[in-house]
């Protein structure tokens, strides 16, 4: 193949209709609060792990919604419970985090 010095790059576009919803639907069964997140970011703002590791419950949940596995990010969670305290939608984030781990560990 001729070397042009540049190649076709993969599109970063998210094809929403082709996202595999199975994991997210399963997550909603394990934790019904998963569907009501409004992306406010309170969870990440109070997270003691966030500043050191970049961990964010909001991002992890969004990733599951978009069919991506970011299970590793949760390894930095200490289950301290602060995110549960601040969530305005009352999501049981502890159950959410444990459920996501379970989903991707099985």
């Amino acid at each position: 193949m001729t070397d042009f010095g540049f190649t076709l790059s993969c599109s970063s576009t998210l094809d929403l209709g082709k996202v595999d919803n199975d994991k997210f639907e399963e997550l909603c069964r394990l934790e019904p609060g998963a569907g009501v997140c409004i992306g406010c970011g309170s969870c990440s703002a109070v997270c003691p792990s966030a500043r050191l590791s970049g961990m964010s419950v909001r991002k992890v949940l969004l990733a599951v919604r978009r069919g991506r596995n970011v299970r590793e990010m949760l390894q930095c969670c200490m289950l301290c419970g602060k995110c549960t305290i601040v969530c305005p939608r009352g999501i049981n984030t502890r159950n959410l985090i444990l459920s996501i781990c379970k989903l991707y560990d099985d």
Binding site: M1, T2, L8, S9
Partner: protein, 356 residues
């Protein structure tokens, strides 16, 4: 697709295009990319339709490429443009038609800027006077040359030797129209048909017997994007944009693509080879690409000009499948012969995309 809905929009974006007496300025790059296109414009307008088209060798670049590459400030571009207008005024014309889409956008943007900020126009007039002792009147009408061919499309159709119809099947050819971004996206009201559903090329296709392909990524940039291409590190953006368009138009099986911009036909044409090299994929039938033509080349084919006089041998993608469908006669042996059938050597042909 609801055709009447588009017609309604087209009727709302019509611009006044005087029939005759135009001051013509050429593009910086088109004569290298598509050497016969501008020549075809003057040939058709002067010799076929008998119009008065004036041009002078004294005109320069409009500065648009440098402006869009962020290398010169707009005031400089304005002064260059002011000089172009001065040449038009001195020649006694008031209708200005550039061959380049970016020039057209550049002129439209400058005229609009002067309308908003008259003090800037005054300053540019002073600068021009200081620099070269010239004065100018602003053009009364500004049109891109594709606007003119659009305006004359039915006169061309009357004289057509070939129509955009498959000779074997009798079906209208499926033609993709691609409009340069600077034509109407900056000023929708300045383009025939507006920015979302431009009619300038679609009107030619319809008038000459073809059918217009409307595909999801129709409005997307060809991929040239100035800095996307000129900076080599960005070149994969350019290529990837083009790829996105071809992937989107592929299910419609277009017979050809027609464009009205200097860069678009070049990149839509050449990148088909690069995509074929890198992915092994071709978008035409039987390993060919999809032929990409300028509107002047298409008009030339319709009017029965010899394809090799139209410079179609300089295209990367083989145009022969289109010529065969339209029933255009050509001598395959003469494809790479120069003036007076002088042998000027054949180019090396790629293996990844079928060419002659």
């Amino acid at each position: 697709m609801i055709y009447e809905g588009k017609q309604k929009i087209w009727s709302e974006y019509q611009k006044e295009i005087p029939d005759d007496n135009w001051y013509y300025v050429r593009s910086c790059i088109r004569q290298n990319f598509f050497p016969a296109s501008e020549r075809m414009f003057t040939e058709i307008s002067r010799n076929v339709l008998g119009k008065d088209i004036y041009e002078t060798p004294h005109h320069t670049t409009c500065g648009g490429i440098a402006y869009h590459c962020d290398t010169i400030p707009q005031e400089t571009v304005m002064t260059i443009v002011a000089r172009q207008f001065a040449l038009m005024t001195e020649a006694g014309y008031e209708n200005y038609c550039p061959s380049c889409i970016t020039s057209f956008g550049n002129y439209a943007e400058i005229l609009e800027t002067w309308r908003e900020y008259p003090e800037l126009e005054t300053r540019i007039r002073e600068d021009l006077w200081k620099a070269c002792r010239r004065e100018f009147k602003k053009p009364k009408y500004l049109a891109h040359t594709s606007d003119l061919i659009y305006h004359w499309r039915n006169e061309i159709a009357v004289r057509a030797k070939h129509r955009l119809v498959n000779r074997q099947t009798g079906e209208s050819l499926r033609i993709v129209e691609h409009i340069g971004c600077h034509y109407a996206k900056m000023f929708p009201s300045k383009g025939v048909g507006g920015a979302e559903y431009p009619y300038v090329l679609a009107g030619m296709i319809e008038s000459w017997g073809g059918q217009v392909v409307d595909y999801p990524e129709r409005r997307h940039c060809c991929g040239y994007g100035f800095r996307q291409y000129h900076v080599k590190a960005n070149r994969s953006y350019s290529l990837s944009n083009t790829y996105k368009k071809f992937e989107s138009m592929e299910p419609f099986h277009p017979d050809a693509i027609v464009t009205n911009c200097p860069g678009c036909p070049y990149f839509l044409d050449r990148w088909q080879y690069v995509i074929a090299e890198q992915t092994g994929k071709t978008y035409g039938e039987n390993g060919f690409g999809i032929p990409v033509l300028t509107y002047e080349e298409l008009a030339g084919l319709v009017l029965g000009y010899n394809p090799w006089d139209l410079g179609l041998q300089l295209h990367q993608v083989a145009v022969e499948p289109l010529l065969d469908k339209m029933g255009v006669e050509y001598d395959p042996e003469a494809k790479y012969l120069g003036l007076n059938r002088e042998n000027i050597l054949r180019p090396e042909l790629p293996g990844s995309i079928r060419c002659f």
